[in-house]
């Protein structure tokens, strides 16, 4: 019933070969003093693989492809991040990789039961509200970051999965409309629109316009899924009005964007190579210097440039590992997203969730890769699983958990069984 492409053992073998090959490249082409410098990294990568395999064996779902692919990409990410500027072990990144794996399982367990999510929808709105309040009152000024000692948290990252969940959970309530004045409206849609306005407004106020396209992509998917919903009853004039409204909003945003955004929209980076175009110019020079096969792990220059491990990480990888490896990394991320096509969702909730997660990932990948390579304005967002950053890693892990849930959902009979078990437990407690 579920497709995985490769056998479980075959998938694990492929993952181990990929990591071993990368460690081999580090050994042959890397910048280190003695081979002993590589030991912590080798142990960390193989340890992560082993832990992942054991965890997957103990708690194996019918669709394991995503688990193995997540382990593969996390191992690659750990190797990349540990090699920037010299071979070592990025302990911080190792911890965030483990956090991402845990977040993935949590995401999977929490979101596979669509009825449970629907029942707890107010809680999700509540979490969004708490996160918004945290941004407003704990970040200190118009910022998106909460600094606790040497740790930094970005609450807006955690809003992403919550936003996808409310988009997905509200879709089946679309036909439940109530009359307000002269209009029949869906309460769920109103709440969703309210949350959207709140999130967009917050991003604008905090001058974090980099994440705005990600939320816009998720909202766009939610809108399309609603138009496709059989009982949506949305007529053509309404669709036309929505398109015009969307276009006008985009134009207004383009015109009213703050000066620094306008600057990024129109900047000629090569004319200001050592000013506002510095990061992108260095990123492109780094890619050119790396060529197809790269200068070698730890042999690049980009590690001297600000945000080399996050905002321009695609270029840093290209410089040290070559464009072939950087491209392969992107392909693996894309294959992770295509697993939804292999195991299609079984209901509207999971279909919307899968589309939302895909949109979020693709928007973020496009913003990071195309932005740093000067194809679109540079926004400074992270590349899923590859960039350094705990908030981003955990969120991406949770999102992959949601993607996994969309492929191996709980079916009605399982939900009913779950309900019966709960009822029996309650009865036993009552008897006791």
């Amino acid at each position: 019933m579920f497709k995985n492409g490769l056998s479980y053992a075959g998938s694990i073998l492929l993952m181990l070969i990929a990591h071993a090959a990368m460690l081999g490249i580090v050994l042959v082409r890397g910048s280190y003093t003695t081979p002993m410098d590589l030991v912590p990294l080798v142990l960390a990568v193989l340890g992560l693989d082993l832990a992942g395999i054991i965890a997957a064996a103990l708690y194996r779902q019918m669709t394991y492809t995503l688990d193995i692919m997540l382990l593969t990409i996390l191992g690659m990410s750990l190797i990349y991040q540990s090699c920037f500027g010299g071979i070592g072990l990025s302990l911080k990144h190792l911890i965030t990789c483990i956090a991402a794996l845990v977040a993935c399982e949590i995401g999977f367990l929490l979101t596979r039961n669509h009825e449970w999510i629907r029942r707890h929808k107010p809680w999700i709105y509540g979490i969004i509200g708490v996160l918004v309040l945290a941004i407003l009152f704990l970040t200190g000024g118009r910022s998106m970051w909460i600094n606790i000692g040497s740790f930094s948290l970005q609450p807006s990252e955690f809003i992403k999965p919550c936003y996808i969940l409310i988009c997905a959970a509200s879709i089946v309530e679309l036909h439940k409309k109530i009359k307000i004045l002269f209009f029949y409206v869906s309460v769920d849609t109103l709440c969703l629109c309210g949350a959207t306005v709140l999130i967009f407004g917050l991003q604008w106020w905090c001058r974090d316009l980099g994440s705005l396209p990600t939320f816009a992509a998720i909202f766009g998917c939610a809108l399309v899924c609603r138009l496709c919903y059989p009982r949506a009853k949305i007529n053509k004039p309404a669709i036309a009005a929505m398109c015009i409204g969307g276009g006008m909003l985009a134009m207004a945003a383009w015109t009213l964007a703050p000066a620094y955004v306008q600057d990024r929209l129109h900047v000629d980076i090569w004319a200001d190579q050592y000013g506002s175009g510095y990061q992108q110019c260095q990123a492109l020079i780094g890619i050119a210097r790396g060529g197809w096969l790269g200068a070698g792990p730890g042999q690049g220059y980009l590690h001297n440039v600000f945000a080399h491990e996050s905002d321009i990480v695609f270029s840093t990888i290209s410089e040290e590992w070559g464009l072939l490896y950087a491209g392969l990394t992107v392909v693996i991320l894309l294959i992770m997203l295509t697993t939804t096509l292999m195991n299609p969702p079984k209901n509207y909730y999971h279909a919307m969730m899968a589309a939302g997660v895909t949109a979020a990932f693709l928007a973020q990948m496009a913003l990071n890769i195309f932005g740093s390579c000067n194809l679109i304005p540079f926004t400074g967002v992270t590349l899923p699983f590859i960039s350094m950053g705990g908030s981003s890693m955990m969120t991406c892990g949770f999102l992959v958990g949601m993607l996994k849930a969309a492929q191996s959902p709980l079916f009605h009979h399982e939900i009913k069984m779950g309900r019966k078990k709960t009822t029996r437990k309650t009865e036993r407690r009552a008897q006791a």
Binding site: L284, A288, L337, A351
Partner: protein, 455 residues
Amino acid sequence: MKSIRRGQHLITIMLLVFLAGFGYLLYRLQHNAGFYISHAKSTPLGYVYDRKGEILFDPEATAGKYDADYFIDIGNLIGDNSKQMTNTLVAQNLPALTNYSFTLGERSDGHAAIYCTLDHEVNRKVYDAFGAKDGCAVAYNYKTGEIYVCFSKPSVNILDGYSNIESLPEGSLLCTVFSPTVPGSMQKIATTAAAFETMGNAVLDKRYACAGSYTNLGGQVIRCHAAVGHGEQGLSEAFANSCNPFFAQLVEDPAWTLDDIAGVYRKMGYRINNEGEQTYLEFDGLSAYTASTTLIDKTDFNTQWGCMGQGMTLVSPLQMMVWQSAIANTTGISTLPYLIGHTTTVTGKTAQTASTAFGEAMFSEQTAASVREIMLENGRGHYAELLPGTDVGVKSGTAQVENGDKENSLLTGFVDDPAFPVAFCIRIDDRKSGEVTTSQIAAVLLQELKASLNE
């Protein structure tokens, strides 16, 4: 289930859009990598050679490796990678010079190079012929577009490493062949072409008197350089005499309007009365000013003065030379110049080879033939010594600059020889009586170039 499948389609579309963008990005990165790497702080660069293999740019040039003034004549034309000058061949073509490929990476032993059409030996001889005078000279093949000679004085010695940049004379870092200059009577070529284009050969029947000065219809006096005047004369004689009163009366002639003049001028590359954008002649990354003038009223002194190449009229020496191709070829179409013959990649493979290109039609073939004949007649009568045994079409001029305090001497023309089709333009700045003349420099240029090309 159909609606759920639409969700799948949505995912597929998003993935395909991203893939298309990513594919385009890979192509762009690979295609523009040479440009990106040329902006790196240190990149291995190749050489620039002249048409005979002489080095014009060496990334590791030092005073000990070359004669002290080896690069002096080409300092502000070929330039270097120091980023002190922008409108130079090296600065504008760094990607082509970079010893790099996306597959091989940076190679200090690479074969990336630019092979120019310039003849460095002749270039230097003509440069030296200026002696102590400043100015510029440019010559090219009016059939193919290959530039043989191009320099401007004062220049910069790149071997000095810009340590003396504060003490360099003004304009040293700029090749003034590409800069606007007052054309003086060279402008009469354009006015003559406009007259032929509008009135045809009937203009040859026009005769006007010159008594040393002429009071125009606006009541203003146009003076001739010959105080006693030239008497009554036709266009050919007036062209040879560079007679201002004749051309003032020609401009006022009721047989044509100011729009007729402006129409031909525009086709010749002029920006008139600051209308529209200034045009530039772009080749091999270099940018050269074309021309500009002010035409208000046919009877006004300034308009007439502009039609004689003084006042507000500006033309680059390169543009004046390019006009000669339209005349010499009798096509009315200019041959566009180029300096890069071909380039080679890091592996030594020829990357790009120049080919002859032509501009828009400036005037008719009939006009070109008529102007050509007048210039040849002038050359035969006054400049036979330029290239003995060969006809040379010539027009000389004197341009008043700095409010008439200084006079630049100019000479432009073409050789009427299918085996040696060369057009040229020379300017000597602030030339005084008894000093080297433009015709002496032209003689050195043409004779040395002919000898060099025949080797």
